[in-house]
């Protein structure tokens, strides 16, 4: 960012301000639907932030990231179903399960590069989908309803929509800060070096595999948190959360928003979900527009929204 008054800084401040003030606006008579929509946007932005860590900064094209949304979500859902409603158990389990899955999948997948890596992460995530869909006890294909949101100690009450919104927002901001610190640390530079030129990194003495694997686990865990949040938001979990096309949605958010940038994932989530709302208001077949639009972004606006905002300043 160059200077306080760049277009990008203004856009960021405006967006953050809007997000913080949204519930106030809704309270004053705005549509309740906006609150629901933006809670969802914030949670998915969190997922996108986690993906950006491995995709944008790490150059690891994982096409199976939605699996962690499902794992985190089902951790909450299954425990709730079995009578364990306390968030103090559910959320750590969600995080641990995601971390474990990421560790195993990452350990296997990171032995490969490029296209193989994409295909393999895709396949493993689908495997998780099929496993979950096969769990008849927990609803299988139909999914599982969650009757009671994660319980914490008063005053935290997740069933209060406004409170839940701010908790999600706080977690999003916290994650963005965490990722920002990580990417600028020694670890982060090692990851970026591996993205830039993995062979050279190894030649100068970095055992890149272990760093990439660690990064992969961190990203998966963070996304598991998003999964726990979304389970609470929709009061429902289903295998569809983990279907590979959802991973595609996350990748779209990251690329659309601008890879390897702090606020890119947030821009992307807002842009994609708002666009979906707007387009589906125009036509039932809105994906006919979204598809080619995505293609155009890939071909002509690769730096995403963040990139475009930066250009406006210099342009």
């Amino acid at each position: 960012m160059s200077g306080w008054l760049s277009v990008r800084s203004i856009a960021i401040v405006a967006l953050v301000l809007a997000l913080v003030l949204l519930p106030v606006y809704v309270e004053l008579g705005g549509s309740r639907f906006l609150l629901t929509l933006f809670t969802r946007i914030i949670i998915l932005a969190l997922a996108a932030v986690s993906l950006n860590l491995i995709l944008g900064y790490g150059g690891m094209m994982s096409f199976g990231h939605a699996a962690y949304l499902g794992i985190g979500g089902y951790a909450v859902g299954i425990l709730a179903h079995e009578g364990v409603s306390t968030g103090f158990v559910q959320w750590p389990v969600a995080l641990a399960a995601s971390a474990l899955f990421a560790l195993v999948i990452g350990a296997l997948s990171l032995r490969t590069r490029g296209v193989y890596f994409i295909m393999i992460t895709l396949a493993f995530a689908q495997m998780a989908y099929y496993i979950v869909a096969g769990l008849a006890r927990y609803g299988g294909d139909d999914g599982l309803t969650i009757y009671k949101r994660s319980q914490f100690v008063a005053p935290i009450d997740l069933s209060n929509k406004v409170e839940f919104y701010y908790i999600c927002l706080a977690l999003l901001v916290g994650s963005m800060y965490l990722v920002w610190r990580i990417v600028n640390s020694r670890f982060g530079l090692a990851i970026q070096g591996a993205r830039s030129n993995d062979t050279r990194m190894r030649a100068i003495g970095f055992p890149t595999y272990r760093y990439k694997l660690t990064c992969f686990v961190i990203a998966g865990t963070l996304c598991g948190l998003a999964g726990a949040l979304i389970a609470n938001h929709t009061d429902f979990v289903s295998p569809a959360m983990m279907y590979w096309t959802r991973s595609g949605d996350l990748i779209i958010m990251v690329v659309l928003g601008g890879m390897a940038s702090t606020f890119g994932p947030l821009f992307g989530a807002v842009a994609l979900l708002v666009l979906e709302e707007v387009l589906s208001g125009i036509t039932e077949y809105w994906q006919i527009i979204l598809g080619p639009l995505l293609l155009l972004v890939v071909l002509f606006a690769r730096g995403g929204i963040d990139g475009l905002l930066g250009k406006v300043h210099h342009g």
Binding site: Y116, M119, Q126, M127, Y130, T245, G248, Q287, G291
Partner: protein
């Protein structure tokens, strides 16, 4: 025992179908270095075209031939309009761009044919059984799938290994500039190769239409398997795709058929029926994981055929 033979044949048939799909994918990747997620969309179009043309013309064979031609044309048009701009770019760009195509095609199909899906009934002359062994009857249609697929595999082998065009394909895989320098029209070659891949996908789609499904999203479901096969077999290797596809076909079919029984011997009836579907679908991925550990570049990797 008859059940076992029948399931083996089913596994072979499924595997060969997957081979057609994976062959197109691996060919396009091996030669143009292009990751095409929309390959599944061509598979879907093959099925939809077939169901439509067969209904229009009243003739199974004629409808199928038209469908194949239509898929081939769609493939070539997509290559000229979209793929040409993606060559040489980062694989992530391919993934994103072709993912956009998936969204587009899924919605286009929904627009044209509606959300319900179609059916493609078999003509009476195919809807019979054939006695392949004393006491063992097998569906004539499934048998014809096996025959056709093997014929296509043989055709591909001859094409790639024994013809000038095949030589160009193999040379293109290893040295693009040189082939271009030889005066060969690379653009045309690529369009034809992509068209071939599309035709293979369309063929697979239309062949399975009468016995499996014609619906939106069918491409995405099966694409994963095609990817797994490509990884196991080694990208760019048609031989690898054949071996891996048959392997996957067998494991998946036999696994689903007999694994639950195996489980029941070890676990309680209830546990087995809960775990069986989930674990059966895992078998292929387990295979992929093993291959990854032992030989990450695939069983028959690199530019070998």
């Amino acid at each position: 025992m008859t059940l076992f033979i029948e399931q083996c044949l089913n596994g072979l048939q499924f595997g060969l179908l997957l081979f057609l799909l994976a062959a197109g994918l691996t060919l396009v990747f091996g030669i143009m270095d292009l990751v095409n997620l929309a390959h599944g969309s061509l598979y879907m179009l093959g099925a939809y075209f077939a169901a439509t043309f067969v209904a229009w013309t009243g003739s199974f064979v004629f409808g199928v031939v038209l469908a194949l031609g239509a898929t081939l044309m769609v493939g070539m048009v997509v290559e000229v309009i979209v793929m040409r701009r993606l060559y040489g770019r980062d694989h992530l760009d391919h993934v994103l761009g072709t993912f956009g195509l998936i969204l587009f095609f899924d919605e286009l199909v929904r627009l044209i044919w509606g959300p319900e899906g179609l059916t493609l009934p078999l003509p009476s002359w195919l809807n019979t059984s054939v006695q392949i062994l004393p006491g063992v009857d097998y569906s004539a249609y499934k048998l014809s799938i096996i025959v056709v697929s093997l014929a296509v595999a043989a055709f591909l082998y001859v094409l790639v290994m024994r013809t000038r065009v095949g030589m160009l394909i193999r040379a293109g895989a290893s040295n693009r500039e040189m082939v271009g320098a030889l005066g060969v029209n690379i653009k045309l070659l690529y369009t034809l190769v992509f068209g071939l891949g599309a035709a293979l996908a369309g063929l697979a789609g239309l062949m399975q239409a009468p016995i499996l499904t014609v619906q939106i999203g069918m491409g995405e479901n099966i694409l994963i398997l095609a990817f797994v096969i490509t990884v196991i077999g080694g990208i760019g290797s048609i031989r690898g795709a054949l071996v891996a596809a048959i392997l996957v076909g067998f494991i998946d079919t036999l696994g689903r058929a007999f694994f639950p029984d195996l489980l029941r011997m070890v676990l309680t009836k209830e546990a087995a029926s809960t775990a069986a579907p989930a674990l059966s679908s895992m078998l292929i991925y387990l295979l992929m994981a093993i291959v990854l550990v032992v030989k990450p570049e695939g069983l028959f990797s690199a530019s070998g055929k």
